[in-house]
Amino acid sequence: MADKLVADKHLRYILNLMAEKKKESFESVVMDHLRMNGAYWGLTTLALLDKLGSVSEDEVVSWVMTCQHESGGFAGNTGHDPHVLYTLSAVQILALFDKLNILDVEKVSNYIAGLQNEDGSFSGDIWGEVDTRFSYIAICCLSILKCLDKINVKKAVDYIVSCKNLDGGFGCSPGAESHAGQIFCCVGALAITGNLHRVDKDLLGWWLCERQDYESGGLNGRPEKLPDVCYSWWVLSSLIMIDRVHWIEKAKLVKFILDSQDMDNGGISDRPSYTVDIFHTYFGVAGLSLLEYPGVKTIDPAYALPVHVINRILFTK
């Protein structure tokens, strides 16, 4: 059983992944198309551990820019098609390095704004898949770029609220089942646009706090599912945004995350003794940040970036 965060091991795990060494395993090739997300997860984890200086900023930034498409959107990796999922990650990565100024903000923001539909929802790309994840992405990204006025915020908010369920949670589209990931997206979008009064905080708070498993202390994503470290982010950040985080037992959750570390090789897995990956490493560390674990910088629950990065963006003109 682990009693501390082995930050050094995680640092080495991430740096190895980012270097060329492990890129040619089957697992790595199969994830090729979402390298932009992977880079965001890895780099934000480094930033939270105050080790962002361990990577070559120039290398990362220039690779990110090779992923930009002529439409203004970013792809998951060089040569792939653009999509909002990777556009947000790209903008977040540039924000980490305080390099948003290299962007053609008009171009990127027009790409995203152009994906808003009549009913206020957002498509992920030109092929029209609609999901509240994309509403969050659009709002988060445009907010970072200070271009929220390019979309119809009222309609965007109304669409998100139309995805609110009778259990207080949110799904990916109207009528879809509540899921912690979607809840994070909807609550985050409402938080950023100043619309949390449209959330029933007590009802949703109870649904969220009941994600905590009594035995393991871990959180699941919806009723009768297994606990998973990634929900330490989605459930926890949602609870924090609506000021109901005191309804879970934090110490138990810390233990669940720490127990999911690979103490020898670094990295964090979905639950104790399972295979580690960069996704769960990020969510584990981000979760610990929200739980105020010592030695981890504070992350903003709505933007999923370190607070000092967000303050730097929001407090300057």
Partner: protein, 677 residues
Amino acid sequence: MHGRPRKASKPEEEAASAAKAVKLRSLQSQFMKNHHDKIYTEEAIELSTKLLEINPEAYTAWNYRKLAVEDCLSRIDSDPNLVNSIFDEELRVVESALRQNFKSYGAWHHRKWVLSKGHSSIAHELKLLDKFQRLDSRNFHAWNYRRFVVELTKRSEQDELQYTDDMINNNFSNYSAWHNRSVLLSSLLAQNADGFMPNERIPDEYDLVHSAIFTDPDDQSGWFYHLWLLDQTLNVETPLLTSSWPSHGSTIILSGAGCLNGSSSKFTTFCSESGSFPLILYFDQAVGGVSSSTVTIDSELKGNEDLVWEPISYKNSQVSCVWVTHLKYVSTDLCEYKVKIRVGNSPGIVSSRGHNFRAPYEFVFTAHVHDTVKDSQEGIVSWTDGFDIWDAKSKDLNSLITLDQLQAEIDFKWRQEAIDSEVECFGILSDSKIGKLTLARLLMAREAMVSDDAVKGVRYEEILQLYNDLMALDSSHYQYYKDEHSVAFLHKMTSSSESLSRHLFRYRGMNNLVCLRLNNLSLSRIASVEKLLFVQMLDLSHNELHSTEGLEAMQLLSCLNLSHNRIRSFSALDSLRHVKQLKVLDVSHNHIGKHSVDTTRYLCSSPLSNSEWSQDDVGRQNPGLVTKYWDAYFVLRDLNLKQLDIAGNEISGNEFSSFVLQVVPKLVWLDGQKLGN
């Protein structure tokens, strides 16, 4: 990425993996070339099929296939057989991809895209869905796709409701089925469809959900459905006026600033420098449309035509439970005025769910304008000395305690019967967590329906005991039960004049302000504010509060003591910005500045929505400090505090104190010290 046990990889495994990787790499780069060169030959398309079979998450390949389909369609004549065969192939590729990964967003969306092109074999789609549901009845992709197909084929809600019935009867532990049922049923109930009258249907649904809860009390599948049924049972669509200040039949004393000569200790006294007093309306749900045309005021007080009504809520919102206007009076016109208020005089007050406030409601109060004798002394307000026990008679408090809900109009019989029946059922589960919690909620609901004063409040002891039991039984959620306990406690305390008057005092130092003492009660949450609108001085010290959420309705509040609580930041005090009367605030000995995570940052006005902050003097002169203490800045800037206590917080110190003095230039007392001119 999920669900793979950790084990060290053996060299032969690594070698096999590397070989597979090389093959996939080659496939991918060939594919990319075809995609960029827009090659849509049979061979190229077949390559993408192979790629998607190995890696259904390669989203660019799904995009490519759509382009290929569009290219093919553009080159053939619209021979339906050819078109169908193209689409059939797409559906086949999707099915094979889903077999690899039935959670692939790309695969499901491709299927929707094909179907929306007009190609449908709907029976096949429903059969496919059945297959996936059997594999995993919680697969939300499948449920979403089902909704898509239902929409396309216009299957009836009743038929789909039957489907959820089948799924639930097959296995009650299917939250997805319960969820879908709730969506369909709420739509049918809202339409008042045949056979879907709430008073008949809801009791049936209670019976159905009992199967889920009673078979396995630890299974959460039915919990939230049951809670929704409870809400449907209690939910009165029509908005109602819960309370007001001044209340019906009450008398208030108005004056200018200063000391009243022999002020009565019977009535609430309101002193105002501005010559106006608040009129507060508290509704049972958020409403919009409260204005001088929907609320009329009949009185001889001059200058009160076309009053402006404000919702007490977040900046963006035009709806609120609490609405306030200010009635003017002339402090030298020493008179008695009768004021008649008519709420809902004309249509226009509408709940946020779209239901109209119906019958106009009228109430009358009396306002005496009194003379002041001498200038007000700006003495420091003490929380310990200068209080008189208020020997309030029941009738005095009745003139202060606000209106009960107009329950007579609403069809309560079936609701009360349903709740009573549930209470009886859940008595059986009294050892389990969900049993105790549901029972507590049911009893709270039952209490809310009681209008007879004689029996009001009898259930609260049991409710409080249930929450105490739950704190021990389910310690992970201790704070949730603690909050509910505080709410029940406050409901109990305000349920009768007798219990409320034990906590009421008058403060001599400020014209016999009405003071409510709720200190040292382990309160973690504020509630029953609608019954406390008359309170002018509130002592909440030595409790466990971490937010002032709810206090915004207390428009008469001029003194507030929050010392020795668990307030972590000024953003947690944001609701106080609405309490414009506030002059004295004590937040000493809290946790302000102690925590790095701000849990109320997004519940208050965020810096994003306050673009004017850098424009004013303080912002211009101290951008660094305003950034550092932004939440304190927003809260303090909007208040006219005379007295503030902030000692005993981590944020306290010279830097913060001098910042406060800049933001609140009219402050007279800081941490007990009188400030120089």
